[in-house]
Symmetry: C2
Subunit: 190 residues, 2 copies
């Protein structure tokens, strides 16, 4: 179980399965975005986790220590930035399910946000990793919204990803080369 | 003295001058961005304040309470988003000075970031308010970088803003209609 900012419960047992070893999707995306910046290809960042601060101490004039705060629900997606003059915006999620991605993973605010970005000519998508299957997909906001609006189901079956989304193959540098797929989107759509 | 997230020292005296009453630049920009979203014009958000969390309690399974954290230096600017298919990125600062804007207001990371965005065809700028003069300017990243690279000075004189930046006139709705100037930039540059 992962908590915002990579924090983990200290009393959590270390569990390693055969299928799901290695880094979290978030860590791999952060490294990939670092790499894209290093080679001057794209400037895409993860936004800081939104926190509501309720208590701050000032032990000295220039120092502020947060003494109480809470994680709040984000109103946008986690990642955004710039690539070849295009506005890029996406949310990334992992699921252990081998059959479907539950729609509860994406907040209603975020669904509205993805629609807004898509309508205003940004490039918006989800990156979803089925950790047990070790399959990672890029699903465009357009297809995601299509599914939500046409289907009654509360989760997106893996078949929908296999048929309608782009499989992101593992690579070494960057680990998740999602801009390769964005290149296809730019070529095809715009 | 303002702290991140609008927090103020509780023991701070309330000081009102004749020239500098009313809302902070940050509040006015947040309201302006809310308005742009309401009328479906642009999707520009302030990023959450980056915080390094060093202690978290879990009083129950689903609840996390931050017990210690610190404000950290941002690596990007505070605001970014999408307008008419363009990537928009800016930093906003207030100064009480009537003569110049100190370059120490903008972190080296942020200067690099503005350069990166400008080079990759994003629309990057600073919004600077001289609170005592009640003058608010949009200075393009391009002109800002030009100043830094050509001049030895550690602050940008008000004359440079008056000659090279765009004055943002007060308005009612939105309070800071900076997209009116972005329209000129899009028309002129692209």
């Amino acid at each position: 179980m992962n908590y915002p900012n990579g924090l983990k419960k200290t009393h959590q047992a270390s569990i390693t399965t055969h299928k799901n070893r290695g880094m979290t999707l978030e860590n791999e995306l952060n490294l990939s975005n670092d790499f894209y910046r290093e080679i001057d290809k794209a400037y895409i960042y993860k936004k800081p986790t939104p926190i509501q601060i309720t208590k701050v101490d000032y032990p000295s004039r220039d120092k502020a220590v947060i003494k109480e705060g809470f994680f709040t629900t984000p109103s946008t997606t986690d990642y955004n930035g710039l690539y070849k003059g295009y506005y890029i915006d996406f949310e990334a999620k992992e699921t252990k399910s081998t059959t479907a991605f539950a729609l509860t993973n994406i907040h209603p605010h975020q669904i509205k946000h993805l629609k807004d970005i898509d309508r205003h000519k940004g490039i918006a998508f989800l990156i979803v990793r089925f950790t047990t299957l070790n399959e990672t997909y890029l699903l465009t906001a357009n297809k995601f919204i299509y599914f939500i609006e046409k289907e009654e189901r509360k989760s997106i079956p893996i078949e929908f990803f296999r048929n309608e989304a782009f499989l992101i193959k593992d690579s070494y540098q960057p680990r998740i080369d999602y801009l390769k797929i964005v290149d296809e989107l730019i070529g095809g759509i715009k």
